[in-house]
Symmetry: C3
Subunit: 106 residues, 3 copies
């Protein structure tokens, strides 16, 4: 048994949670404030069998890896008009896989 602790950007957390449910993984979302990514992040705890860790990591990568996006007005609350397409990096995930000595559900 392993515990995957995943820190993702807040904007990806709903999609990621949905993907965990669709793939029958039980994930718990912790409330997170601030962090190393400017727009805030969210921490997930996912318990899974050793042989499922790669599947969990694959889902996290799919839903929340760092990628470039063209900024759209809703992303910029500056009041300035966008006259040129603006590339920004969004997403990004940090994952720790930790051993579990014992797992209990009551």
């Amino acid at each position: 048994m392993k515990l995957v602790i995943a820190i993702v950007q807040k904007e990806d957390s709903n999609n990621l949670q949905r993907a965990f449910v669709q793939n029958d993984f039980r994930a718990t979302k912790l409330a997170t404030s601030g962090g190393f990514l400017s727009q805030g992040n969210t921490t997930f705890l996912i318990g899974c069998e050793d042989e499922k860790v790669d599947d969990v990591l694959k889902i996290i990568k799919q839903e929340s890896r760092a990628r470039e996006e063209i900024a759209t007005p809703h992303m910029l609350s500056t009041g300035y008009e966008i006259t040129q397409p603006l590339k920004i990096t969004v997403g990004g995930a940090t994952c720790f896989v930790v051993p579990v000595d014992e797992f209990k559900r009551f």
Copy 2:
């Protein structure tokens, strides 16, 4: 030394915290948002000696295991009157016991 990470339903968290204090366990309550249980849940971190893990799990089971309750009006904010007793499942705990290489208090 072990770290017990326990995810319980929000409604049980105050009773559980009181039980940890009464039994001289130091528990930290993390703020948790949403999760796999519809009414929100809370995560506790409890550090303890290896031989105390069973006591910690026993307390968690006692205070927050899944059980059936008869729904009372304060649980239902629908505006409908209850004409029949309604059984609902409340509580439930998920516990990970994780090894600790080093423990420091400053």
Copy 3:
């Protein structure tokens, strides 16, 4: 690779976060409610190489160890005037160092 889980008092969390950044450690601050220290606490997750654990612990000790302070008016919201210097204990950190089987950044 290790994961350091550090629980510090809320009042020290900004200084600690700044110290982590200055020393090139990536730390994630979880929102924490209540806990065993009366004024609320904050949990940090810090991933680091095995040989850097002592540096991480040193920073945590430096920024958030328990120490005595003379209470100043902003600390007391009682409405009473302070007529004598009042020593109070502030700070304090609890740190768990946990093994990491796998670490991924996406």
